[in-house]
């Protein structure tokens, strides 16, 4: 869960990103000093067909793949549409803008400052984690899934 003392910003490109572009962008972002957390937001790419007569059958999708960010492998489960960042303070925003300008050469994007992350546990969080939820993960991962956030420890 987000801490009110940290600033937030989000990067919204004009189009949904390919995994390769998302990988380049995220690798640029993790190199910026002062970025605490990153949430990759977008429509889900399910592993199986969720509705209709083909429900439960495998759903191969070229954009659901593992990308390498920093020193970690991250499985993209969404079509990257928006990157929400929690940052130490506003001083790293010019650096983030520079990263975006390098990645989005033929795409427009918007970098906005504001509050975008979950500020308190929702009912769904309560149902999933109970009263003693680990506040480090609330708001970072989908409470309906068992995934944990990926911790980037190095920049290899």
């Amino acid at each position: 869960m987000t801490d009110a003392k940290y600033s937030q910003c989000r990067i919204v490109p004009a189009r949904f990103l390919k995994p390769e572009t998302a990988e380049r962008l995220l690798n640029g972002i993790v190199r910026v000093e002062g970025v605490r957390r990153i949430v990759v937001n977008g429509p889900r790419l399910p592993a199986t067909v969720p509705y209709g007569p083909a429900r439960g059958k495998p759903n191969p999708h070229t954009d659901r793949k593992v990308i390498h960010v920093g020193d970690q492998d991250v499985e993209l489960q969404v079509q990257a549409g928006m990157i929400i960042l929690e940052i130490m303070d506003d001083s790293c925003i010019p650096e983030l803008r520079k990263v975006c300008d390098e990645v989005f050469t033929d795409l427009s994007y918007v970098l906005e400052e504001g509050r975008f992350m979950k500020a308190s546990p929702s009912l769904t969080d309560y149902a999933k984690y109970g009263p003693d939820a680990d506040m480090e993960i609330v708001g970072l991962v989908d409470p309906r899934r068992n995934d944990r956030p990926v911790i980037i420890q190095g920049l290899k």
């Binding site: 490109p13 790419l45 209709g52 191969p60």
Partner: protein
């Protein structure tokens, strides 16, 4: 005086396109050639080349009740043969797709017989007898009403019409039924409900932005024709809205 349908108000290009597509006398421009077999594969209702399963015996073989309406209405080929009722469903991107759900229903009602369309905000389904469906689908896919990137044939999990496009210009599809191949041609790799096909079905190259903006039937204030710029359209819609509200209270037009 002979009634001449006007199809719709508006002075903009979007309004003009809407009228054009609805008018059954206007011949839709054919821009691609997807074969019958390919259409059958995308629809996924029967195996290509197999016989049409039936819901009832052919009309010629069964005793019809003495009904004046049945004497007036000529059955379609599918109804005559007793075909099952099957469907095709489209999702149209709001980024200048050539058609949109309401227009699809209007134009199908003007152009086709024996159909049952269902109109929703982001998708439009049309049901009819199977062999009629294949014939109508071919027209809907092969003509200017379809663009391979901005229109999707999606039986289930249609989400994507109001989302941003993907980087390659394709409308988002959770099931990725079609892919933009390296040769620039869009190919369906799954049928409309998301089951994998035995082979990829090409549906042509995506049309360019200029063509899309010239053929779209969607008002869009960012980059296209803004709805508010078509004053005649606004006036007409406001009049309808006003009348249907007032008529509930006192059906007199002043």
């Amino acid at each position: 005086m002979v009634y001449k349908p006007q199809y719709g108000p508006g002075t903009s290009l979007v309004a003009e396109n809407r009228r054009k597509y609805m008018n059954p006398e206007y011949k839709l421009e054919k821009i691609r050639d997807v074969s019958d077999e390919d259409i059958v594969m995308i629809l996924g209702h029967r195996a290509p080349g197999s016989a049409y399963p039936t819901a009832h015996p052919p009309l010629a073989e069964q005793q019809e009740p003495d009904c004046p309406v049945r004497k007036l209405v000529t059955p379609t080929d599918g109804a005559k043969a007793g075909d099952r009722v099957r469907y095709i469903q489209f999702a149209d991107s709001m980024f200048f797709a050539p058609a949109q759900p309401y227009l699809r229903t209007y134009l199908e009602m003007y152009r086709h017989r024996g159909i049952d369309p269902g109109t929703l905000s982001g998708r439009q389904i049309v049901e009819c007898r199977e062999r009629d469906l294949e014939q109508y689908s071919k027209e809907l896919v092969n003509t200017e009403l379809f663009d391979s990137a901005r229109v999707g044939i999606r039986g289930a999990t249609v989400h994507g019409h109001s989302l941003r496009l993907r980087e390659d210009g394709m409308m988002f599809d959770m099931l990725q039924r079609c892919i933009l191949d390296t040769d620039g041609v869009v190919k369906y790799v799954k049928d409309q409900i998301g089951e994998a096909l035995d082979r990829a079905v090409p549906v042509g190259k995506p049309m360019d932005e200029k063509w899309l903006k010239a053929h779209t039937t969607i008002f869009h204030s960012l980059g296209g024709v803004a709805y508010r710029d078509d004053t005649e359209y606004i006036e007409y819609v406001q009049r309808i809205h006003s009348l249907r509200t007032k008529y509930g209270f006192m059906p007199v037009e002043k």
